[in-house]
Structure formats: C-alpha cells, structure tokens
C-alpha cells in the first residue's frame, strides 16, 4: 500500500480505502479543483481530510491532488471544463449536454446551479436541502430527482 507524508505524519492510503471512507459523504462545493471518486466530484482537500483525519489547513490542494492522482483518481479543474463546454455551444442550445451532465445522477435527487452544473446529488431530498443549508449554496436552476427510467420520466411511479 502506498505511503505518504502529509504535514509531518505518515499515512498508508489506497484507492479502495479512500472510496470507502467517502461512501456516505456528500461532496462539498467544488470551486476549482476536483477529483472523481466513484463517479462523484469532490474537492481534493475534502478527500484527504476524510481519509487521514487531518485538518484541511494542514495541507494544500496541490498536495492533495498529487496524492490522489498517484492513487489513481482522475483530477481536473472545474473552471476549465465549464469554459470548454460554453465554447462548444456558443448558440445557447444545450443540445444534449444537460442530459449528459445528468446521466451520472440517474435515480438521485439533484440540485442544479445552472442547466448543467450539479451542486449536489443525494438519495433523498432532505439530504439535498441539508447540504444546501450547510454550505449556504443556492440551487438557482432547481432541484428534482433524475428519473431512473422512461416510465418515471413520463409520470409513472417507480415499481
């Protein structure tokens, strides 16, 4: 198992251990950098703080990203991605981008800041409301559950 020294402490971390510690956590707001853990985007510092128990002030985003990339997680910058997608569709049409952005959240309750900007996804609407209150964020576009099937999208109840 790879070992890392963070803020003077030695930790042994692996990908599955990091994934396990985040499985019941909702991602904090992503400002710029994120890593993808089981299809969800987390701020790198949240991931390392959760995996090590360290305070987020004890290390930098750069350190956290470097460690997580070494563990095999995908790391990216949200701002860069947004600019790219805006440049792609200068005519204002979403042309399938919204559906693509929502696809990873099928069956989940989501809160959206914009047509393709998912702030949080959770199993229940109460969790979504709790997250928005905790982080003082506003889902300007709205919240709803992404239907898990054609029947649900057309108004039939899930079986």
């Amino acid at each position: 198992m790879p070992s890392f020294t963070i803020s003077g402490h030695r930790f042994e971390l692996d990908q599955s251990g990091v994934e396990r510690c985040l499985q019941d956590r909702l991602p904090d707001p992503v400002h710029e950098h994120y890593v993808v853990v089981r299809g969800r985007r987390f701020p790198p510092k949240q991931v390392i703080a959760c995996a090590t128990g360290l305070d987020r002030a004890d290390f930098t985003t750069h350190q956290a990203r470097r460690i997580l990339k070494r563990l095999g997680f995908v790391a990216a910058r949200a701002a860069r991605e947004r600019q790219a997608s805006e440049a792609e569709t200068g005519d204002g049409s979403r042309s399938g981008r919204q559906a693509a952005a929502l696809r990873p959240y099928i069956g989940k309750w989501v809160a959206l800041a914009g047509p393709t900007e998912v702030l949080v996804a959770a199993e229940t609407p109460q969790e979504v409301l709790g997250w928005l209150a905790q982080h003082e964020r506003r889902a300007a576009y709205g919240m709803f559950r992404v239907p898990a099937s054609l029947a649900e999208a057309e108004g039939a109840a899930p079986a």
Binding site: A99, A111, P115, P125, F144, R145, P147, A157
Partner: protein, 140 residues
C-alpha cells in the same frame, strides 16, 4: 417568461420535459423543478416538502388519489408559491407516498394563475401571469 424544457437522459435518447422552477414558501435556496401537467386537476406535491418547510398539514382534509399508477393520500392545504417572480397563495395536494421525482403543476394551483404557451418543437414554454395573479402578488 420563457423556460427551456429540461433535458433528461433516457434509455433511447434524450427526453424533453416541460418544467418550471417554483419557490415553495420561503425555500429560496432550493426552487423545485415542477412538471407542467395539463391533465392534473390540482398541484400535487410530495408531502416531504410540507414537512421540510413547516407547513402544518394537521387536520387538513384528505382524499385518496391515483397518480401514475400509485394510490396516494393527498392532504389539501394552501401554501405560497413564487413562479416567474410572482408570489401567490396556491391550493396544493400534499401526497404521501410520493415516489416521483417531480412535483406537478396542475389546473387549480397553476393554470388558473398563468397562461402557458408550449412549443415542444423548439423545447420551451412561456408563462404569462393572469391579471388577477399580478394584482394579488403586489400585496404579498
């Protein structure tokens, strides 16, 4: 005011749904994306929303209704909705269970208050408030 249809991921391609963001009571941070349902006689919302915002349903009249293949208990009450910047007092059926992802905007609590133009070919809907809605919203 114009709202673009919501694009949803579907098994055989993208699905387009006519939705409107609705602020429920004072829940400013989380507008509910509601489905416009011209076939629904009333607004049907999940009862979780009443509980989450402190709308008291104790003693509210109840009926059993069938929606989308589900028999649910609807408790009828009134609450403030803000749509397209206008806040008004609307009748709402709060349903439990509510296994749906969207709340429904129907005739009594929505279509009586707004004129709706739908264009599925281009994927948008326009809302224009009735004069009575604008008048009652001014006092709120």
């Amino acid at each position: 005011m114009r709202f673009e249809f919501l694009e949803l991921p579907g098994e055989a391609g993208t699905l387009f749904r006519p939705v409107v963001p609705v602020q429920f009571e004072d829940l400013e941070e989380a507008p509910q994306l509601c489905l416009v349902d011209t076939g629904s006689t009333a607004n049907r919302f999940g009862a979780w929303l009443a509980e989450a915002t402190g709308v008291d349903l104790a003693g509210a009249p109840e009926t059993a209704v069938n929606i989308g293949g589900v028999t649910t208990t609807a408790r009828h009450a009134r609450a403030d909705l803000t749509i397209a910047g206008l806040r008004y007092d609307a009748p709402i059926s709060f349903c439990d269970p509510w296994p749906f992802g969207f709340n429904l905007l129907g005739q009594e609590g929505f279509l009586r208050f707004f004129r709706v133009t739908l264009c599925a070919a281009e994927g948008w809907l326009d809302l224009e408030a009735e004069q009575a809605t604008r008048d009652s919203s001014r006092g709120r």
